[in-house]
């Protein structure tokens, strides 16, 4: 015999299962509908605001996210830019996979990558400079503070094991008056693929034929010696806990965490301590139109020699990027990117980032002007409209 209680229980069990089913179906339906993009224009709640998605290099992430914060206030909360720091390699990967509207990288797209994109989308991919960064030699020598002087050759010889002690005559000669102890040099490098490593080894390859022939440059290389550590924080950690350590870190990272870092003598024979003006100055050279250029070992006399652009990657044909669904998104993306290279640059110094030199801003603007949406010159229109205001 069924009691009321049993019946109630069974009904309860039933309805829980049923509810779960209905919920699952409902959510799937909503999800699909949203994915299809059909609701983007139809839904007034979404049409009111535009969300832009980007990802990539960790080095410019503090600047880009601060720009996103500022831009959201500037547009009265209408435009939200979500930038996730996943590394340069991840940024390039997801940009090619077309899961993000723009990528960011410390290493410009290779000729092969650009050629592939041109073949598959019918338009090129731009590397638009957004900021500049320096990589500083960081060290832990008892009794020695920031400002030890290096040359490119000395750094290379330390990394390849030709110089094994901190009191080596070649280091002493560069640093008269500094009391260098007879401590062995402990080399630290990144174990993960990194834009920082790319800049560091790119410089090494330019100043040393041996390095160029035997190691080369890239986001990760086959190091002749040393200890690997994961991320900027990993290298910093090993350097800070190992007396005699020599590593390399983004300048922002070294200053933020009070790690002693050195000056490097540039190609004009000037001793340059990395800071914001000397980093900006490094880019003060003849820039090619696509800005895909390495500025390490810069010919600029007042420039720090281990610096690099960080670039934002966008497809020339914005409609060819499957992450961008509507023309409105494309327009807002152009508007945001143009803002980052103009007004947005004001945020650089307070956050310890180097401002783009005017030549780079001009090149970047030219790129944005060429962006199209289904054949229409969205980039030129948006920039012209801003200029008229």
């Amino acid at each position: 015999m069924k009691t009321n209680r049993q019946r109630a229980l069974r009904t309860a069990g039933f309805s829980v299962l049923g509810l779960a089913f209905v919920l699952a179906l409902g959510l799937t339906a909503t999800g699909t509908q949203l994915f299809a993009g059909g609701s983007a224009e139809g839904n007034p709640a979404r049409a009111a605001g535009v969300a832009l998605e980007g990802a990539g290099a960790s080095f410019p992430a503090p600047l880009i996210t601060a720009m996103a914060d500022e831009y959201r206030d500037y547009t009265g909360g209408r435009i939200t830019v979500n930038y996730q720091s996943i590394g340069s390699g991840g940024g390039i990967r997801q940009f090619i996979e077309q899961t993000i509207m723009f990528g960011a990288t410390e290493r410009y797209l290779s000729d092969e990558q650009v050629a592939e994109i041109e073949a598959s989308t019918g338009g090129t991919a731009f590397n638009m400079p957004i900021t500049l960064g320096s990589v500083a030699p960081t060290y832990n020598i008892p009794g020695v503070d920031t400002g030890l002087v290096f040359t490119g050759e000395v750094l290379v010889d330390m990394y390849r094991g030709e110089i094994t002690h901190w009191n080596d005559p070649r280091i002493v000669e560069l640093n008269p008056g500094v009391d260098l102890p007879a401590v062995p040099v402990q080399i630290v490098h990144r174990s993960d693929g990194s834009g920082t490593t790319n800049v560091w080894t790119d410089y090494f390859s330019k100043v040393s034929g041996w390095w160029a022939d035997n190691v080369g440059f890239g986001t990760s290389v086959d190091w002749p010696r040393g200890t690997g550590a994961n991320g900027n924080e990993g290298v910093a950690g090993v350097v800070q806990t190992t007396p005699g350590a020599l590593g390399y870190n983004s300048l922002v990272y070294a200053t933020l965490n009070d790690i002693p870092y050195g000056a490097v003598i540039n190609s004009s024979g000037e001793t340059i301590l990395p800071d914001l003006p000397t980093t900006s100055a490094a880019a003060n050279i003849d820039l090619p139109a696509d800005t895909r250029v390495s500025i390490t070992d810069t010919p600029a006399a007042d420039g720090y020699p281990i610096a690099s652009f960080a670039w934002v990657m966008v497809y020339e044909r914005l409609d060819a990027n499957s992450a961008i669904e509507t023309r409105e998104q494309a327009e807002e993306l152009v508007r945001f990117l143009y803002w980052t290279i103009t007004d947005g640059q004001e945020l650089s110094e307070p956050l310890d980032f180097a401002r783009l030199p005017q030549a780079a801003v001009d090149r970047a603007t030219d790129m944005l002007r060429r962006l199209t949406w289904n054949g229409e010159a969205v980039g030129a229109e948006v920039i012209a409209a801003i200029a008229q205001r």
Partner: protein, 285 residues
Amino acid sequence: MTVRARYIRDGVMRSLLIASTLFIVVPLLIIISYVLINGIGALNWNFFTVELGSPARAMQGRPTGLAHSIVGTVIIDLMALAFAAPVGIAAGIMLSEYPDNPINPPLRVLSSTLNGMPAILMGLLAFALVVRPFGGFSAVSGSVALAFVMFPIIARSVESVLRTTPWSLREVGLALGLPRWRVIISTVLPAAKTGILTGVLIAFARAAGEAAPLLFTSFGQNYMNLDPGRAMDTLPQRLYSLAISPYREWHAMGWAAAIVLLVFVMTCFFVARLVAGRFGTRADG
């Protein structure tokens, strides 16, 4: 054996059991108190009401928090549960109640393969199945990835719970001439509901702590987002990225996020026990 020897043996076994219990419990308490000590300082009103934004906010002492990550975690986990629970329970019933069905061998292989898969592969699966075809990261793809984590746990626990319900229950129903599906729904499931609920909640809590499957699916978000078709933030993933960031303020927030996640998971278990206890006594009475 003398009584004295038995007492001695009893004492030895008892102390061994106590020792092994402590061996498990003490490290757990240490971990929980360590998280509490490190994170309690960063837990404030802003933490629950403000979005993260850029690290500049934290460095310049402006309000910043993880409101969007908490909301995102709840949405993504509930959607994942809605995907996984019906399918998982159905699979468990299939495996236990229809052992001869030809669908079962492949189902069992699928379930145990999924169970043994590293969680990051669930993320990869969801990336290939959802993110790439639809051209963008989304909360739904994160839920699908977590549903893959939940499914085998639910299916297995439902199967084993149903197996332990006495055969006499089924025989009663079948003797009355009820069809098999009716017997399952009317007698087997109600008898096993406490166990099923526990299994579902264990799966839920396990998935709620996963960060790896979400890295390239729900992806992460710096602002509040309620649209399941776009990138969304979750506590485990945000905890990870806060922990590896170079900012001291963010490290503190990471610890605070760990407290919230711990409380979230522990509350799930607590509620589960409460509900199960209530239903349990009613069914007995």
